[in-house]
């Protein structure tokens, strides 16, 4: 099978596997205790924290490990809103944030807060001016912006927005889940969230970083773990593996990202050349290195995914018929681009150019067959 769904989860990096196996034996004890095996677990955990902090541009004491990227976002959003209650109850988000951000925003709204959603252009990018204007409104407690969109790959103007937030005195939560380990983290965040399994670490490790001086109060009952920010016993082996994968990815970033980006360029150029009536969406240049999304007119996304699966390709889709909600992806809706026959291709580390070539070879015939079955010429 050709696995082209790295944006859902990146296969485990060999460095992570090695670190995980070693730490299962060396780092199983409770890092909060004081005897030898516990102190070793604490040492491994804090080394991993320092490594992750170094790659993400944080201080080690700003970094807490959570049980997922989603939990990091939930804690980041709700904890900062909690800490900033006296500043106001207004939350600003982009329309194309990950569902974890938007679901946390719904909780905030249910609790009597307000949520301002900033729209995006046809590429899926917020306008820095519109975002800045929304953030400057009085009573704004927090703003949230992703580094890059998880469905279409478009990079967001985080540095510019961060400057506007700083001027307005509003903390900015940056969701770096799709870009961490693939691109440097842009400067200016107050709260940062990321997810290890997106960069080749194991599932079950998220990163929440809260800048010194940012007010934050846990929405959960008190717990002394992870700088009082994330509840529960740390999964030390998984955290160590996550750090190993991130360090390895960061070292490979320049060469591997350039290689994947060239393959994405090839898909972006070839799909509309080989398949009629296709819209390639997202920014062609200011984008993630490994992700490309396109939509095929007159085709159901579900059928397309099934047919690609039969040919041995694992991809994902934002079309309504592939979602449990039977609604198209909120990202594609907010962009105003075609949602039917939608395919997201996201390239894992080490994917072969041959797999991409084979994908480009089988796709036109699959689309033609589906259209023919629906009576489209």
């Amino acid at each position: 099978m050709a696995y082209l769904d790295a944006a859902s989860t990146e296969p485990l990096h060999p460095a992570a596997r090695e670190a995980l196996l070693a730490t299962l034996d060396a780092g199983w004890a409770d890092p909060a205790r004081l005897y030898g095996t516990a102190r070793r677990a604490r040492l491994l955990l804090d080394q991993a924290r320092a490594e992750v902090a170094g790659v993400l541009g944080a201080r080690p004491d700003e970094v807490s490990f959570t049980s997922s990227g989603t939990q990091a976002v939930h804690l980041g959003v709700l904890g900062t809103l909690n800490g900033r209650r006296r500043a106001g109850r207004r939350l600003v988000v982009s329309a194309v944030e990950h569902s974890s951000v938007l679901h946390a925003a719904q909780v905030h709204e249910r609790d009597g807060g307000t949520v301002e959603t900033v729209g995006v252009n046809l590429f899926g990018r917020v306008s820095p001016a519109a975002f800045a204007a929304a953030v400057a409104e009085p009573g704004t407690a927090l703003a949230c912006l992703q580094t890059a969109n998880h469905e279409v790959g478009t990079l967001q103007p985080v540095a510019e927005v961060a400057e506007a937030c700083q001027q307005a005195g509003v903390p900015l939560l940056v969701d770096a889940a799709q870009s961490a380990g693939r691109l440097p983290v842009p400067p200016g965040w107050s709260v940062l969230a990321a997810s290890a399994h997106k960069w080749g670490g194991p599932a079950g490790v998220g990163v929440l970083a809260v800048r010194k001086g940012t007010r934050w109060r846990s929405p959960y009952p008190e717990d002394e773990r992870e700088n009082r920010r994330a509840p529960g016993f740390e999964n030390v082996p998984a955290v160590v593996a996550a750090a190993a994968a991130l360090r390895a990815r960061a070292a490979e970033e320049a060469t591997e990202s350039a290689r994947l980006s060239a393959l994405v360029d090839r898909i972006r150029a070839e799909v509309p050349r080989r398949v009629p009536d296709v819209e390639v969406v997202g920014d062609p240049v200011e984008r993630l290195p490994h992700l490309v999304t396109f939509s095929c007119l007159y085709v159901s996304g579900e059928t397309l995914l099934t047919e690609l699966d039969k040919e041995g390709f694992a991809v994902s889709s934002g079309s309504s018929c592939t979602a449990s909600t039977l609604r198209p992806s909120h990202v594609l809706e907010a962009m105003g681009v075609l949602t039917q026959g939608n395919v997201r291709v996201s390239l894992p580390r080490g994917v072969s150019a041959g797999d991409v070539d084979r994908f480009l070879t089988v796709l036109p015939d699959i689309v033609r067959r589906i259209r023919k079955s629906l009576g489209v010429q």
Binding site: T117, D277, S320, E333, V337, Q340
Partner: protein
Amino acid sequence: MWRRKPPPQSTTGPQHAADGLADHQARPKNDASLTIDALGRKCPIPIIMLADQINSVGLGAVVAVLADDPAAVTDIPAWCRLKSHEHVASYDLPQGGWSIHVRRKY
């Protein structure tokens, strides 16, 4: 989650979607030369019906597509952009769904 407001909440007046592409209004204007009933049909069928029949009206005439698959609200204006036809407006139907009006440009 950012979503277009569902019809029952938006019958009070004209609305603009966040993308600025779809112009929702409460009451359909009676400007259509042809009405395609795609209610109950899932994507991509409403668009296939539209593509099939748009050339049966005159140049500059309007086709109204009645659809209740939420994808149609995004996809028909997107189809117009891709095919250089004009998305005139989308109207909420009282029974649920939308009447999406498209002008044939060529």
